[in-house]
Amino acid sequence: MTVTIKTFDRLADAANALSSERGAHFFGGGTLIMRAINEADPSVQTIIRSTDPALQHISVSSGRVELGAGVTMAAILAERELAFLHPVARAVGGPAVREAATVGGNLFANSPYGDFAAALLALDATAQFAGGFGQRELPLEEFLGRRDRGTSLVSSVAFRRPPTDVFRFHKVTRVHPKGISVLSISAQLPVASGRIAGARIAYNAMGQTPLRAKAAERALEGRPLDAAGIAPALAVAADGTAPVDDAIASAWWRREILPVYLRRLLLGAVHT
């Protein structure tokens, strides 16, 4: 039995096919799903593709950014307006992976993958869905919580563009310059009169899916970004996380180093 490939011009038709066929999976850039096909994974029977140009669409206005689910990491790196996301896009695989890896696929990548999804989480992004039934839009956090249950086709993600220098990202890897996450941290750190107001912090590889560091966010509220100001946030950095042991690092190690890197990120000692 071979895999059946179905290609649709219109995203809506692809979405319908995806939700109506058993064992159907959407094909983004293929960096993960193609391995399953190569290994004859029995759960992958039908592949749904779409050539709809909407998938590749990038729109950046002063207030809002919208990225088609088929936008690749390489396409983000080619977009000057998205400079704040370049460190994140550059952190996904090597150059050949980045040419294929899509934003949409990253939302479905299992830990320790999902660096871009975690960045989107820190940006308070929403996911938009194609097709006739169900929800049209979900906050990313809610989407990630239920992502493994449904087969909806994500058409795009959208978020408010952060003011300059408010977004920070750091990825911890064992090999450089490319490497799979021991963990990565994305953060939006808006400061009003020297104090944090409404921080968003998200981790990748600290749980099955990317997750928000809500305890740390709360502990930062109204505090200055200095050693004393961030101390309470560091103390609760790992609250609510559930990292796993894998070939890259143990859960214990991830928890141990998390506050170290969060501290450096908050103090601005790392900024790439």
């Binding site: 039995m1 071979t2 290994e39 004859a40 029995p42």
Partner: protein, 541 residues
Amino acid sequence: MLEFRKDIFADERDDSLVEIGQPTARQDILGHVTGTSPYYDDHRFANLLHLKILRSPHAHARIRSIDDSVAARAPGVKRIIRAADVPVNLNTLLSLIQFGKDDEPSLASDVVRYKGEPILGIVATSERAALEALALVRVSYDQLPAVLDVEEAIKAGAPSVNATYPKNTFEYYGKYDHQKLRFGDVEAGFRQADIVIEDRYQMSPIEHAPTETNGSITVPDTNGRYIVYTSTQALFFSLDTAAKINAVQSNQLHFIGGTVGGGFGGKVDTLTEPLCILAARLTGAPVRYRLSRHEEMQFGSPRGAERIYVKDGLAKDGRIVARSVRAYFDSGAYTRLSSYAVVKCVAHIPGPYTIPNVHADVYCVFTNRTPATAMRGFGVTALDFALECQMDKGAVAVGMDPLEFRMLNMYRDGDMKAHRREAKNCALIECAQVAAEKANWPLRDEFRRMSSRQGGSHERAGVADRSRTPQLASAAKPAPSTPPSPVPQRVAYERPTPAAPTRTAPPSPPPRSAPPSPAASPAGSTHGAPRFSSVFGTRRR
């Protein structure tokens, strides 16, 4: 870059070297850069079949039943290969040189002993068809307790891993459960030492991860012969192993290889050829058996994990007067080459240092882990790691510079090694001197003037030199042939600048009267263990 120091040992070397020191292009590099080098998988055959293997998901389990009836009817399946189909199912790699007992099945039939162990093969028209059929095989297992730690494995009551060696240790010469090295009297050495330091070193298995995974293609030829294209790094070794397992004459197999996509020791185990040949014999068609990357990582044998305990007795002046090593080599579930790694390890103890009292016990232990094999210096690399860490700790303990501490103890020409062979052509001191110079590592004058050709003697290892002083053999108390040099008592040690003024001379060579001779033994005859001999002579990987 490359530099020849012709000033060192100038009198010993022939300087008419033509090739050495000159860059030479590898003969196959044009093929490499044009993508035309013929790796085993670059041969194309019509109607090629594909062999895929069902592997154990458990580290240790009894196989209760295997049901492959549905798989046998799956599309594209040409043949299922079971343990009973393998002509000589039990083998050990080194049986080719009569070393060790056959202990490893090509396909497990009753018990699986590590995660990834092969159980059954499916030959199909495509890799995909074979993989899909594998998913239809039903195996029921009774899980057995697994032992994954070397020292746990040799405790009484530990689960028995390997039916051929029920006590979980390889058997040397049919009766010994480990390899020994005995030289001098290590207990007396520790009593005499000013400082004793002891530590434990644990290695991890290391996968060679060649970019080309292990694999082979077998093509039926005329007259009952088979042509085998293979990634093996040991062509004739693999040929003989494959011939034994298939119960065919070796001249029925024509192995073609030599272009290997990285081996590093991970392609000597003949992982694919025997079953690939069997599949071609059973189907009459060309068959490829290629490991996936996952199989290469899990089933492909790694460098073994060794646990090494080192205990050193040190004199305050920096001499190592006793060294004891106890090591356990994790062979995984079967022997492969770890038995030999142990032999190499013992041959390398106590490192390149002259020590009068040496004691070692090294075990090759079976656990429910992937069988380990050769990898670049196996048996020696891990030991060196342990010994050199220990040397750094020793230097701190006696308050010496770590390089000078090593140089003081290094082999010199004429020293007696712990294996009762005389050290010859020892250039290590000179290497250390050049390395120190390149690294701008300050050495004191005496160490910069030190020579591997001076000061060496059997006496330095506490052994009388029969060839040079035959009368000592019968002498009850050997008299020093040179006056003992004064041994300065240095307890504090700071690294001097190169221009440091006067310093006390280092204690080199140590007085031969210092280490105790074994009490009631005629010098030179019963000192230490019987002469060490490697089963493999000068064989190397």
